[in-house]
Amino acid sequence: MSVKSFRVAINEALDHEMGRDPRVILIGEDIVGGHGGSANNPGAGGGIMGITGGLFQKYGPDRVIDTPISESAIIGSAAGGALTGLRPVAEMMFADFLGVCFDQMFNQAAKFRYMFGGQASTPMVVRCMTGAGFGAAAQHSQALWPIFTHIPGLKVALPSSPYDAKGLLISAIRDDDPVIFMEHKVMYDDEGEVPDEAYTIPLGEANVTREGDDVTVVAFGRMVQFANKVADKLAGEISLDVIDPRTTSPLDTEVILESVAHTGRLVVVDEANPLCSLASEVISRVAEEELGSLLAPPKKITAPHTPVPASPVLEALYVPSQEKIETAVRELMNG
């Protein structure tokens, strides 16, 4: 156990699983370092964010594979590879690039098992960067987990800490279904305790990051950090039950419903766009199942229904903030 960054936690998860299972391979753009694993290439940087650094050197050119800029072929490689004995981990760099390879995920990998009547399993992971806060503008900052969550056949993991990143990624790689693994780009340098050895966090089990009695705050991904800070700030005054679902598909509604049954108040915080979002999903489930427990109307804190602006000033307003969470919590207590 030692303090490690989110980046290192991911690298360790990949390293553990590659060491453990020869069927695990990595494929993506520049993940070796840009020259596809010529053994004498001096700079194998491990992708533009350095996440896969060192793995090519350790596992060689057959298992860490640089590709042309052809995302459909990358995801196809993973999906077709998964049907034929591999457990590929594809890197899509930015989740926003899903647009050029969406079919391979949503009509192919996600649906094989069902279309083929249970014959197939498709053990693959697609790692991608998500989220705003980097000044990366409309096409490099999106959340997009609502879209993947909507699609039957996919699983979606959304780690909020280095510890969760490692454990969820190991679970995702060992899982026999296609998993979209979303890494918030602003969190790569976040640090936290991460065990050196391999460990798993089950997909579909929420984590209660703060226990409390007054207001349930369901937060996704990076927003968990904000919610925790608000909980800590308000401690003694208002007590928050902060729930990090950790995966949006499967979504652990049980923990959420139990919490709302206890607190009677709900805030959902998500940096994705609002329409047909996880925030809507969570609130609708609570309305269906725990209507009687609600002491006040639930509150949604999401990005607005707009693309992500380039301007950092606007971007800061785009992303939900601790202030907004705090205000919502106070309104619920006073309403």
Binding site: D62, S70, I75, A79, G80, T84, F116, G117, Q119, G153
Partner: protein, 323 residues
């Protein structure tokens, strides 16, 4: 690389099975017993056969919306296929896939595919798998002339060359993509040279001539197994039926089809070679196969018609391995 007698009999049996399977489906579709969209392979039987005769169950193929022929050639159980086309519970895919998603992973048949061009990246994956696992397997991406204009197919071609994958692009030029003629949709005029420009050997053959396909693909498979990378074979074999069953084909002079059936029937041409010209087989041997095939198709249809549909609880199973 001449096929031996067993192989000739096998090839004929496959082609004939495809022909009769499709002919019967056409009738059943008209009768309303086969649900959904169905695209038939008649006229192109020699392609799937000439390709798959080189493959083992461990080799993988990705297929298309016009996939019945690929299934049969790859060794899928015809009875289970028939059950699947009728969407019955004991079908290859439990009735959940139907004609457009029929698959048999155990046979290396990675699925018909209702998205044009989507099979190519999947075959890339299968070929990559073979390369990584160093098991000597190869993969084949079947795809139509129309599909070659889909971005996914182009990407797959360059990708396969860059990674030197054991992959064969079996391009079935049947003259049309849906209603659109290749004379219209192909800017370059020639598919084989456009494919070759991606940096792999590409040849064009008569797709109604089993021997031509067999030979060209044999070379390509050999290269692939030797670690020499991908190749492409363009097989020209025009479509006998409409794009899908029920297509009135107003865009086409229907006399075309009569002529095809006279001059471009792969079964006739095969018989002509093996019985008449080369005298490798006797007509009686092939006639016996014809009879067996017809019986197989008949009994398969009978069985399929009588078989039970999926049970209501099947609706929500097989989405995930665990959830």
């Amino acid at each position: 690389m001449e096929p031996n007698k067993d192989q000739l009999l096998k090839a004929y049996r496959i082609m004939k099975t495809i022909r009769e399977f499709e002919a019967r489906i056409a009738k059943e579709f008209e009768a309303g017993t086969v649900p959904g969209f169905t695209h038939l392979y008649m006229g192109q039987e020699a392609v799937a056969t000439g390709v798959c005769m080189h493959l083992t169950d461990a080799d993988a193929i990705s297929s298309t919306h016009r996939g019945h022929g690929h299934c049969i050639a790859k060794g899928c159980d015809v009875r289970k296929m028939m059950l699947e086309l009728f969407c019955k519970r004991d079908g290859t895919c439990k009735g959940k896939g139907g004609s457009m998603h029929i698959a048999d992973i155990s046979k290396g048949m990675l699925g018909a595919n209702a998205i044009v061009g989507a099979g190519a990246p999947l075959a890339v994956g299968a070929a990559l798998s073979a390369k990584v696992q160093k098991n000597g397997n190869v993969a084949v991406a079947f795809g139509g002339d129309g599909a070659t204009n889909q971005g996914t197919v182009f990407e797959s071609m360059n990708f396969a060359v860059v990674l030197k994958l054991p992959l064969i692009f079996a391009i079935e030029n049947n003259g049309y993509g849906e209603h659109t003629g290749i004379d219209y949709h192909l800017g370059s005029g020639d598919l084989t040279s456009r494919t070759a420009a991606f940096g792999m050997p590409a040849v064009k053959v008569d797709g109604t001539d089993f021997f031509a396909v067999y030979e060209a693909v044999g070379e390509a498979v050999k290269r692939a197994r030797n670690g020499e990378g991908p190749s492409a074979v363009e097989c020209v074999a025009e479509r006998w039926r409409g794009h899908f069953e029920g297509d009135p084909q107003t865009y086409r002079n229907l006399d075309e089809i009569k002529e095809l059936q006279e001059k471009k029937d792969c079964l006739k041409k095969f018989r002509d070679v093996v019985v008449t010209k080369k005298k490798w087989l006797k007509a009686a041997e092939l006639n016996a196969i014809d009879k067996e095939v017809l019986e197989l198709i008949d009994s398969s249809v009978e069985e399929a018609l009588a078989a039970p549909p999926p049970a209501p609880e099947d609706l929500t199973t097989d989405v995930y391995t665990s959830y």
